[in-house]
Amino acid sequence: MVLTLPGKSRSAARTETTLRIIAPIAVGILVLVGWQFLVSVIGVSDYLLPSPAAIVEEFIEFFPSMVSATLITGWNALLGLIIGSILGILLAAIAAGWRPIDHMSAPVVASLAVIPIVALAPVLNSMFGADSQFGRQAIAGLASFVPVFINTLRGFRQTLPVHRDLMKVYAASSAQIVRTVTLPTAVPFVFTGIRIASSLAVISALVAEYFGGPRGGLGGLISTSAASSAYARAWAYVVASIVLGLVFFLATLALERLATRGRRRS
């Protein structure tokens, strides 16, 4: 198992990582080449599918606006993610320690999980006024809350019986038990929840912009560009959204790895 020749296993692991990086890049390039081929050789019309080259052109031409739009939407998503995660962790901790709260929160969380949260966007927008970003941040927060809460609560329930016995043997105080066993056991689950929440936060912050409120974010600019038939530009904003989503995903994935280092599951 673990104690194989270190050199051998490391080189095998390196090949695997290289493959994991190269494979999607190869697929991406193939898709782009095929796409460009469809548009420029077969001649699919521009409003159906702009060519990658046209999208790149728009991306470069409107680069400052791309950046500011990404920052606006990214900030809404980030704020929502942070506040939603903090609330999710706190509430899960309370629910784990106190049964009645657990029973009370279960139906609330279940309904939050099934309601499409962006459906709240028009309501929140009219509640907080047309020039406020608050509605979007609240929606991103709600969307982040659910997976963080559910995963954290599960994490708090993963303490192994043998670890519980050990803490009892050592006559550990409940603060010591939480610090030495319960929290470290839950940590990987918390970060898995945050990783799942990060994508949801970006998506919901972006989609919430379709329902009115201040323009300037990625969602708003995608719909404005599409409405004025600037399809290549709309696609360029979509590319920026994908980049934003990836940044969130990779950042939280790195956080998750960092939090579970030394605990490689072999």
């Binding site: 673990v2 016995d165 050592y170 006559a171 105080s173 603060a175 939480v178 490689r264 599951r265 072999s266």
Partner: protein, 287 residues
């Protein structure tokens, strides 16, 4: 954070623990309530382990060896009867940290290094980091894992993990050691080395040991007395005293001693009179 609900360990140096027997179990029954009804795990258990004595519990799977050990450790409470450890209730003895324990599973914390796992009890009980590090080094040396101090448990084999758990159980130099098949995951070579090592540690510290095992030779080699148990319901079949003369200088030679083979025969016969136990009693690790 919440405040300490459990009383903290008292200063055990003030209590003359050695004067009392290490463990006294009187008329103990243990019944588990399960969904499919009651399980009678132990009936009418009576056993006294003197201070410094090495007692093994042996018997087929499910005869209640682990349950008895958990009662002594105050991890479960008996349905009837009483358990006394160094003259105190089992619960008082646990709070006073009068025993060290090694479970069947190593039960290491995977997010801590080997050294931090061994030092866990010291850390929880407020030892200074200098004392702690010195003791950790001593313990890791004792179980032959000095080179692995900074590794994580997942990077170790099962047998090495178990040795870490044993080092951890010895961290606070307890007067009583409770060990549930601690060598079950080890290969035969390491196992014999650990057995000899355990005897040396016991001779040095004068600790009493309650040792659960599946292996007759192991029980005979280690023990002053072997408690043979039988299942359904779990009870003590017979207590076989061992007549081996122990000389720490020539501990290994004992394995070829006449008295050793006589002991093996005596325990085997005791096991077979209980229930028609087949040959499975020989060092089988069915966990």
């Amino acid at each position: 954070m919440t405040q300490v609900p459990e009383p903290q360990p008292t200063d055990s140096s003030a209590t003359p623990t050695r004067s009392a027997d290490a463990v006294v179990v009187r008329g103990v029954d243990k019944t588990f309530d399960t969904r499919s009804g009651q399980v009678q795990a132990l009936t009418a258990i009576g056993l006294t382990v003197s201070a410094g004595e090495f007692v093994s519990l042996i018997g087929p799977s499910g005869c209640g060896k682990s349950t008895l050990m958990r009662l002594i450790a105050d991890l479960d409470q008996p349905t009837a009867g009483s358990v006394t450890v160094f003259g105190k209730t089992a619960s008082r003895a646990r709070l006073d940290q009068d025993y060290g324990i090694a479970f069947q599973q190593a039960g290491l914390l995977p997010w801590r290094t080997v050294a931090a796992n061994v030092g866990l009890p010291l850390e929880l009980h407020g030892a200074t980091s200098r004392d702690r590090n010195a003791r950790i080094e001593e313990l890791l040396d004792m179980v032959g894992l000095s080179d692995f101090a900074d590794r994580y448990p997942d990077q170790l084999s099962g047998g090495m993990q178990q040795r870490v758990a044993i080092a951890r159980s010895l961290a606070e130099k307890p007067d009583l050691l409770l060990m549930d098949e601690p060598f079950g995951a080890l290969d035969e070579m390491t196992r014999e080395r650990m057995q000899t090592e355990l005897l040396r540690i016991c001779a040095e510290t004068g600790a009493a040991v309650v040792f659960v095992t599946h292996s007759i030779p192991e029980a005979v080699y280690l023990s002053d007395r072997v408690v043979v148990m039988s299942p359904r319901p779990g009870r003590i079949q017979q207590i076989v005293p061992m007549a081996l003369t122990r000389d720490p200088e020539h501990a290994e030679a004992l394995r070829e001693d006449r008295a050793f083979f006589d002991g093996v025969t005596a325990v085997r016969e005791a096991l077979h009179t209980g229930s028609p136990v087949p040959t499975g009693a020989r060092g089988v690790e069915n966990r």
